[in-house]
Subunit: 214 residues, 2 copies
Amino acid sequence: MKNTLMIDRLSIEKMDKRFRTNLINCISGFKSLNLCGTISTEGVTNVAPISSVVHIGADPPLQGMIIRPVSVPRDTYQNIIDTGYFTLNHVQEGFYKQAHQSAARYDRDKSEFEKTGLTAEFINDFKAPFVGESIVKTGFKLIEEIDIRSNGTKMLIGEVIQMHIPESFISDDGYLDIHKAGSLTVSGLDGYYKTEIIDRLSYPKPDKKLESIG
Amino acid sequence: MKNTLMIDRLSIEKMDKRFRTNLINCISGFKSLNLCGTISTEGVTNVAPISSVVHIGADPPLQGMIIRPVSVPRDTYQNIIDTGYFTLNHVQEGFYKQAHQSAARYDRDKSEFEKTGLTAEFINDFKAPFVGESIVKTGFKLIEEIDIRSNGTKMLIGEVIQMHIPESFISDDGYLDIHKAGSLTVSGLDGYYKTEIIDRLSYPKPDKKLESIG
């Protein structure tokens, strides 16, 4: 029998800062792992790992991400506000260490692309750089900036402008097989994971048995 | 050589609705998978799968989730607004089909817990039900409701009030091993995945080599 802890609000407050940061960053569950590509008005490219991307809607095609303007990745935030564009690029196993390293606080006049050995790829005159190594890349235009009053963070909402995805990973029904593409998932601040398919399930209706559509 | 598609804004608009919904729901990357437990003012419990939970901050401990009030899971939204409390419960392989099924549009006077065979568990007088089957459970108090103007969705921000987690899954540094706990991750609307650890990496600093801390 496992010993289940009951952790209340007061014991969270009393935790060591690093302990609390690790624990609270894990309780949401597995997170998406993207590299966010941007460029400054001076032309310096920037790349930073983001695990806070969240689906907002499909029509119009919108994704959001949480960003802390006064902390890392502040360059990412400033570049998006200044230029209005950013890219999100799935991270695969071949470059997850560079992705993790790109979160280091480099000087603002240096490109994290150069520092980490990742490739800034400009495609079709899109204003922000994609990550050349990534298999699944999406370019966004900033359309809404939201203040989260509870802790001074922001949510940036981007509209999908263009996607670059190998055709073979897209099913007939539009499902994108990001497992086959090798996209990773992250837990907390630093735990990297591959995936293993269990199943795809049919649309749920009352009194109808679920079927595998995998 | 893989044939990489360039999908632009216009081709997204022209897509069949279901195709677009599947594709855009996949491009964020792997998502967390939680069951959200709530109760109505009439005492009817509700449970619904949520893949839009996002980390907002560790101090104070905050998580957010995107919710579409005019659609499923509207009961979840209304219950949270009415009572001010909700729970998020990681989904493991033993009950992922019930989790998926709980998204079906049941009548509002019936509990999805009963309909799907999941257990509504009330702990320590917390106002919202936890999911008895879940290994990682967190109870939240609603502290902020945010309108997303771009598409009429909302983000609800919850503050962590209590957590119920087996002690053996929490490392000395606070890292919660949700892989060992068996928590699943989801892609798109209906793809369920287990995970496989690659590594935990040390804190990234300029000019310092990353180390495995796994």
